[in-house]
């Protein structure tokens, strides 16, 4: 996992951003985690990135607050973030993990369309974070496995980003690559 102090600081900042309903800040904090998670590739850093990004998306939707279980849901969500931070401060990584896992389990307690929406938010957050790690230079298959998303979903999502358009992505001229394709097709073999 990333350095303990860094994660504690990050979770404090998440709480502050949540209190101020600062969703751009939450997204930024999630992205910060992705830089480190791209190298460490540990499940906890990745889980934090997904949870924080999901929180930002949930807070962006004021209509979610109309659902009967909203207060209970968001209270438990933030409570587990606080508890996860407390556990880390006490060097209890087992409890830290447990509280992070609890966040996704809260969704199972929801019902109806609200449950469907929140599940979708988390699923999309995983694809978004996978795309960010792929953007960092980690292969698509490796990234899909880290985030538990299918290659089909990731390919479709990544295809809508500017990842191939950055200069460093270009590695051969179009003429040369077409020549590879034409040559192999036109080659006569026995």
């Amino acid at each position: 996992m990333q350095e303990k102090e860094h994660v504690i600081k990050l979770l404090k900042e998440v709480k502050e951003a949540f209190k101020k309903n600062n969703t751009p800040r939450l997204k930024n904090l999630s992205n910060q985690t992705i830089h480190a998670a791209s190298v460490s590739q540990d499940d906890l850093s990745i889980a934090i990135a997904v949870i924080v990004y999901s929180l930002s998306k949930i807070m962006e939707r004021p209509n979610y607050r109309d659902y009967p279980k909203w207060n209970q849901f968001i209270k438990k969500f933030i409570h587990n973030i606080d508890k996860a931070r407390d556990s880390l401060e006490r060097n209890n990584e087992k409890m830290f993990r447990k509280h992070l896992e609890s966040i996704e389990r809260i969704i199972d307690e929801l019902t109806g369309i609200f449950k469907v929406h929140i599940k979708e938010v988390f699923a999309r957050a995983r694809i978004n974070k996978a795309s960010r790690i792929y953007e960092h230079g980690i292969s698509m298959e490796k990234t899909a496995k880290l985030l538990g998303v299918s290659l089909f979903e990731l390919a479709e999502y990544a295809g809508k980003t500017a990842i191939p358009d950055i200069g460093l992505s270009k590695t051969l001229s179009i003429e040369d690559r077409i020549k590879y394709a034409l040559d192999i097709f036109n080659k006569n073999t026995k």
Binding site: G137, S139, L151, G159, I174
Partner: protein, 225 residues
Amino acid sequence: MKAIVFDSGTIINFAMNGILDILKSLKSEFNGKFIITEAVKEEVIDKPLHIKKFELEALMIKKLFDDGVFELPYDIVVKKELIAKRDSLFNMLNHVFYARNEFVHIVDKGEVSSLAVSLLLKEKGIDNVLAVDERTARMLCERPENLTQLLRKKLQTSVDMKGDLSFLSKIKVIRSSELMYLAYKKGLVKLKSPKVLDALLYASKFKGCSISFDEIEQMKKLENV
């Protein structure tokens, strides 16, 4: 003998665009083998068969596999030999880029198995190209220094490249975009419209082929589109 070694992304691209028939037509024209590894088969058939959202694509790809359009490499390569090559390559490629006091694991076994098959075929004197849509494997083969720069820029930290990847430059990489271009050029696309090439190339991009807008426009210019 000649072959095209397919990574998962390229097959996924044709499947999600609903144009697997183009791959079938290309195979008929090719007079060689379309090879996939077991790891790739798992990614494009076995796993998605259990995901409702992609079950149909998986079934359609399976049909191509069952019909012999795609085949495993074991007519040419011994399984044990492939596993050994894949594992050594997997270990090596994941110990090249060093950042924040550790090696960055950049590739997984599916992609590496495709690279391994391509290299083994070369060693046996069999002409082949690797069809791969994702960016990282392509950069490893063609411009690993670009990958170092990319990692530095994105990770916002220093990244060292430890190791010589020049042996990968033997691998010739094409993408689904080149295959679609070829199909268009050979008249294998049933749709008839002045927009067909444009539509195919953008469809490949939007389903994950790592091709830039500029590259697409260059390809269209070659055909005066």
